[in-house]
Amino acid sequence: MTRVIKYVLTAGLLAISASLALAHHGSRISYDMSQMVTVKGVVTEYSWNNPHVYFLFDVKDETGKVTSWAAETDPPSTMTRYGWSKNYLKVGDEVTVTVWPSKVGAPRGFLAKLVKADGTVTDHTGQLPPE
């Protein structure tokens, strides 16, 4: 799906790389692309909006303490190609979520893999090169 753009910069003034132009703006840099974390939870909010599709979900640990997590992914134009829509998730859905986690340890991540209770899988684990 990634479109490759070749640049010939004769003046050498701008160093734009294809990955720079294509990458998710401003957020992916916050995530540790060298490791993944998997958590299970229940969706509390689903935002099908530009430029960041994301969802919040509550994760309960063994002591019963609930943490609100969030996973973000590509914009709707891209996610549509993976079969996502405004109805792909709804509040109350049980989800197993694998993310590249926040570098600062926050319960936030960039979506690598999502498994819904009905078995539907979105797997992007092989798609994103570390930045």
């Binding site: 004769t10 701008l14 132009a21 969030a70 134009s77 891209t78 600062v104």
Partner: protein
């Protein structure tokens, strides 16, 4: 880069690339206009082109932006009002559609790395349809207030809403909504990027 441009470049805090840090001040992170050059080289959102006898329109999916190119033989304005997408005229040179623009608003970034553009800049775009589904283009930006020589990007591929010219594929309404962006920043971007 001139001193004027260097100061702007140093003030830019991009979220991507070698200078990228979490958060930052990229204009598009608060739904501010992307501007012409960045829209043309942005790979994530596609464009459509509509030709009429007097004007050619480029419709960028991102921000639902319309960019007009006059093809009625008018000249560029000599003292243009700044525009985020410039003032553009176009003409055919054989099979190449040549677009000249001026009147750029200097609040935009040229790229995700935060390179500036001044109101004195002029841009030439040269479009060629190299096969049925592909338009290639060159960009030549001349901006003596910002750069000591023109920058030239050749052989870029236009990210058109073609998908093989599949007529069933529709361009989305990819509006950037400030209130949604603010909520996203509060709920995701800020917690993910900041130490507490």
């Amino acid at each position: 880069m001139t001193a004027w441009a260097q100061a702007r470049y140093d003030a830019a805090k991009p979220g991507l690339g070698p200078r990228g840090r979490p958060l930052g001040n990229d204009p598009i992170m608060s739904c501010n206009p992307m501007g012409l050059v960045r829209s043309l080289i942005w790979g994530l959102y596609p464009a459509e082109i509509i030709q009429t006898p007097k004007e050619t329109f480029m419709l960028f999916s991102w921000f639902d932006t319309r960019r007009a190119i006059w093809t009625d033989a008018r000249k560029l304005p000599t003292d243009p009002e700044p525009r985020f997408y410039g003032y553009s005229i176009g003409q055919w040179e054989g099979n190449t559609f040549v677009v000249e623009s001026n009147g750029f608003d200097d609040r935009v970034w040229l790229d995700a790395d935060g390179h500036p553009v001044s109101q004195d800049a002029s841009l030439e775009e040269r479009y060629r349809r190299v096969d049925h589904d592909t338009i290639k283009f060159d960009l030549i930006l001349t901006d003596p207030k910002a750069y000591t020589q023109p920058w030239v990007a050749k052989g870029l591929t236009a990210n058109l809403m073609t998908h093989g010219l599949d007529p069933t594929v529709e361009m989305r309404e990819d509006v950037c909504i400030p209130s949604v962006e603010a909520k996203y920043k509060e709920e995701v971007r800020q917690p993910a990027g900041e130490k507490h």
